[in-house]
C-alpha cells in the first residue's frame, strides 16, 4: 500500500484538482465543483495507505473495492487512478475525446481500476453492498468503499442498500458521503431538505462519523479506524466545500459543471500552489 505524508497528500490533492480542471477545460464538459470537493477524500483513499489495491495487478481478487458512485466526478477519479499508476497520465489528455477510454462517466470495461460503471446516481451503494456480501460469503477480508454525493442520497436505492448492509452486518462496507451541500441546480437544502444526514444513517444501522472532508489527518484517522463499530457498516460524512481550493468556484452552484477557461486555470493553479499540467 502507498502511504504518503500529510504534506504530500495535500500536494497530491491539489495536483488532482488542477488535473481535473485541465481535463474539463480540454473537453469543455465536466463537473468541476464535485471534482474539487472530493479530491482530498480520493487522495486519502489511494495515497493514504487505506485502499489495498495494486495497479500492477488491478484484478487481484483480494483487492479492496472502491466504487465512485458519483461517477460524474470522473475528472478527479481518473486523475487519482492515473496518479496511482492504473494507466498512463498521458491518457488524461483524451478526456471525453471521440473513442477515448475516458468517458464522461467511468466504464470498468475500458479502464483498469474502475470497479463499476456509474453515472446514474444511486448505483454505487447497492453494488458495494453486493461486493461486501461476496467478501463475507467467500470468507475474505477485503472491503468495499463507496464515495457518494450528497444530492445523490435523494435516490431511494441508497436507502434500500443501507437496509441490506445493516441486516447482513456488513462491517466491511464503508460509505463516504461527499457532503458539499450543492447539487446540479441549487444548494441541496433549497432543493430537497437533507439535514440532518448523520442521524439518517444511524437510524439505518450504520456507525457514523462526521469529518472535515478537506482535513487529511482527520480523514485518515477515521478511515484507519474502520469498522467504526464491529458488526456495523460504516458511514463517513465528509463535510466538504464544493469547488474547494479555487476561490471563484467555491460554494457556487453554477460551478457544479462549470468549465474553466485557460485564464481561470492559471488562476486556480496559483491558488492551489501547483502547475497547470498541460
Amino acid at each position: 500500500m502507498t502511504k504518503s505524508s500529510i504534506q504530500e497528500l495535500r500536494q497530491i490533492s491539489n495536483r488532482i484538482r488542477i488535473s481535473a480542471m485541465t481535463m474539463t477545460n480540454h473537453s469543455k464538459l465536466g463537473h468541476t465543483g464535485g471534482d474539487l470537493s472530493s479530491s482530498d477524500i480520493l487522495t486519502c483513499l489511494y495515497f493514504g495507505g487505506i485502499l489495498n489495491v495494486d495497479p500492477e495487478n488491478p484484478k487481484w481478487e483480494q483487492r479492496d473495492r472502491f466504487i465512485m458512485s458519483k461517477g460524474h466526478c470522473s475528472g478527479a477519479f481518473y486523475s487519482i487512478l492515473a496518479t496511482r499508476g492504473f494507466f498512463p497520465a498521458e491518457q488524461l489528455k483524451t478526456f471525453m475525446d471521440p473513442l477515448s477510454m475516458l468517458n464522461g462517466h467511468p466504464d470498468r470495461n475500458k479502464l483498469l481500476g474502475v470497479e463499476a460503471n456509474t453515472g446514474p446516481l444511486g448505483h454505487g451503494a447497492p453494488i458495494a453492498v453486493g461486493a461486501a456480501l461476496a467478501a463475507k460469503m467467500r470468507g475474505e477480508s477485503w472491503r468495499a468503499f463507496v464515495l457518494t454525493g450528497d444530492g445523490e442520497l435523494q435516490e431511494g436505492s441508497n436507502w434500500e442498500a443501507a437496509m441490506t448492509a445493516q441486516h447482513y452486518h456488513l462491517d466491511n462496507l464503508v460509505i463516504i458521503v461527499d457532503r458539499n451541500r450543492i447539487q446540479q441546480g441549487d444548494f441541496t437544502e433549497n432543493t430537497i431538505r437533507m439535514d440532518p444526514v448523520a442521524p439518517k444513517w444511524e437510524a439505518f444501522g450504520f456507525a457514523v462519523r462526521e469529518v472535515d472532508g478537506h482535513n487529511h489527518e482527520e480523514l485518515l484517522n477515521t478511515l484507519e479506524s474502520i469498522p467504526l463499530s464491529p458488526g456495523k457498516p460504516t458511514c463517513i460524512i465528509a463535510n466538504t466545500i464544493k469547488g474547494k481550493g479555487v476561490s471563484f468556484a467555491e460554494n457556487k452552484p453554477a460551478w457544479h459543471h462549470g468549465v474553466p477557461t485557460r485564464e481561470q486555470l492559471a488562476l486556480a493553479a496559483e491558488e492551489l500552489g501547483v502547475e497547470v499540467p498541460w
Binding site: 453494488i127 453486493g130 461486501a132 434500500e160
Partner: protein, 329 residues
C-alpha cells in the same frame, strides 16, 4: 390478426390429458444442484422466497442466500456487486418487478457493465392472471431484448429449463431468464439439447412456420398437429433463445415455407415477433402474423382464460396460419 374473443372450445375431445409441470421446480432444483457443485453460485431475492421456490435453497445454503427485502433496484445492484466479488448470483423475483422496477440497474449495472449476473424473471407474461396488469409482465421481452450484452432466454418446458440453467453457469455475462409458473407439458425429447442462439424444431413442415416459445411452444405443436389433419404442414420452431436469435432458422423458414406466424405470451410489439420481423425485414421479407397482446393491458381473468381471450392457443395459431395462407393452401 385475430381479434380478442373468448374461445373455450376443447381442441379435441377424448385426447389424453398430458402431465403438466411448473418450470419453477426445474429451475430451483437445478439451482440447488449447481450451488452444491459450485460455491460461486448464490441467490438474491426480494422477499420472494416462496414464489421463486427457493425455500430449500435458503435452507441448504443460508450463507449464499441474500434476501434484500422488497427492493428491486438494490437487488440488481447487489447482484452486480456479488459478481464483482467473484460470485455468480442468480437474482430472482417476479418478472414484472424485476424488470420494470430495476430497469436502469439492468441496463447500467448488467448490460453496460457486463457483470456475470443471471436474472430469473419468475411468473412472467400473464401468469399472475387475476392479479391484473400490475403483476403481468407482458413488456419484459421488449425491454430486455434491446439492452446490449444482455442474453434473453425463454425456456418452454422443464427439461429445457434445466438445460438453460446449466448453460447459464457456463455463460460469461448477464442473462435474463424468463421462467413461467403456468403449467406446461414436456415438449422436448430427452436427447434434445439447448444451444444458445439456436431454435429447436418441434414439428417439421414446409407450408408455414410457427415460431413460439415459453408456455406457447406446446400450443404451437398442438396447432401443427391439427393443421396436419387439414393437410397443412406447419414447421414449429421453439425460439427459446430470443437474444441471440437463430437468424439462420428464421431465414430458412422464410425461404422454405410461405410465411411465419410468431406467438408469444407478451405484447406483440418488441418481443419475439419483433425480433423475427427485424431479421425478415433486413434479409428476406416474408408474410408474417404476430400473435401476442395488442397494445392493451389484459382484463381480469385467470392466466389460462387470458391466453384464450387473446387467442394465444392452438386454435388462434391455426386461424393466424389460415389467414396468412389465404384460402388456398
Amino acid at each position: 390478426m385475430v381479434s380478442p374473443a373468448v374461445d373455450t372450445k376443447p381442441l379435441s375431445s377424448g385426447a389424453a390429458v398430458p402431465q403438466l409441470f411448473d418450470c419453477r421446480d426445474a429451475y430451483s432444483q437445478t439451482l440447488e444442484k449447481m450451488a452444491a457443485e459450485d460455491n460461486r453460485v448464490c441467490a438474491v431475492v426480494n422477499d420472494s422466497v416462496s414464489s421463486t421456490k427457493l425455500k430449500k435453497f435458503q435452507e441448504l445454503f443460508p450463507d449464499r442466500f441474500v434476501n434484500v427485502g422488497i427492493a428491486e433496484q438494490n437487488m440488481v445492484g447487489v447482484g452486480a456487486g456479488l459478481a464483482n466479488g467473484g460470485m455468480v448470483p442468480y437474482v430472482c423475483g417476479a418478472s414484472c418487478f424485476l424488470t420494470a422496477r430495476a430497469m436502469e440497474q439492468v441496463k447500467v449495472d448488467l448490460g453496460y457493465s457486463k457483470w456475470n449476473v443471471k436474472l430469473c424473471g419468475m411468473s412472467s407474461g400473464m401468469a399472475y392472471g387475476q392479479l391484473g396488469p400490475t403483476h403481468h409482465s407482458i413488456e419484459d421481452l421488449a425491454w430486455t431484448r434491446v439492452i446490449p450484452n444482455l442474453t434473453v432466454i425463454v425456456p418452454a418446458d422443464p427439461q429445457e429449463t434445466e438445460q438453460v440453467m446449466r448453460y447459464s453457469l457456463e455463460h460469461q455475462g448477464p442473462m435474463f431468464l424468463r421462467i413461467s409458473r403456468m403449467p406446461v407439458c414436456k415438449i422436448h425429447a430427452p436427447t434434445d439439447t439447448f444451444t444458445l442462439g439456436k431454435a429447436s424444431m418441434l414439428h417439421d413442415g414446409d407450408d408455414v412456420t410457427i415460431i413460439a416459445n415459453g408456455v406457447l411452444a406446446s400450443r404451437a405443436v398442438t396447432a401443427a398437429k391439427m393443421l396436419a389433419e387439414q393437410g397443412i404442414h406447419a414447421r414449429v420452431l421453439n425460439m427459446s433463445s430470443i437474444k441471440p436469435i437463430d437468424s439462420d432458422a428464421i431465414l430458412k423458414a422464410a425461404r422454405e415455407t410461405r410465411g411465419i406466424v410468431t406467438a408469444e405470451e407478451a405484447l406483440q410489439a418488441g418481443g419475439l415477433g419483433g425480433a423475427v420481423a427485424e431479421i425478415l425485414a433486413r434479409h428476406h421479407p416474408a408474410p408474417m402474423r404476430m400473435m401476442g397482446l395488442p397494445d392493451v393491458f389484459a382484463p381480469t381473468g385467470t392466466a389460462e382464460f387470458l391466453l384464450e381471450y387473446f387467442h394465444l392457443n392452438a386454435q388462434g395459431m391455426i386461424d393466424a396460419v389460415l389467414d396468412l395462407l389465404g384460402s388456398k393452401k
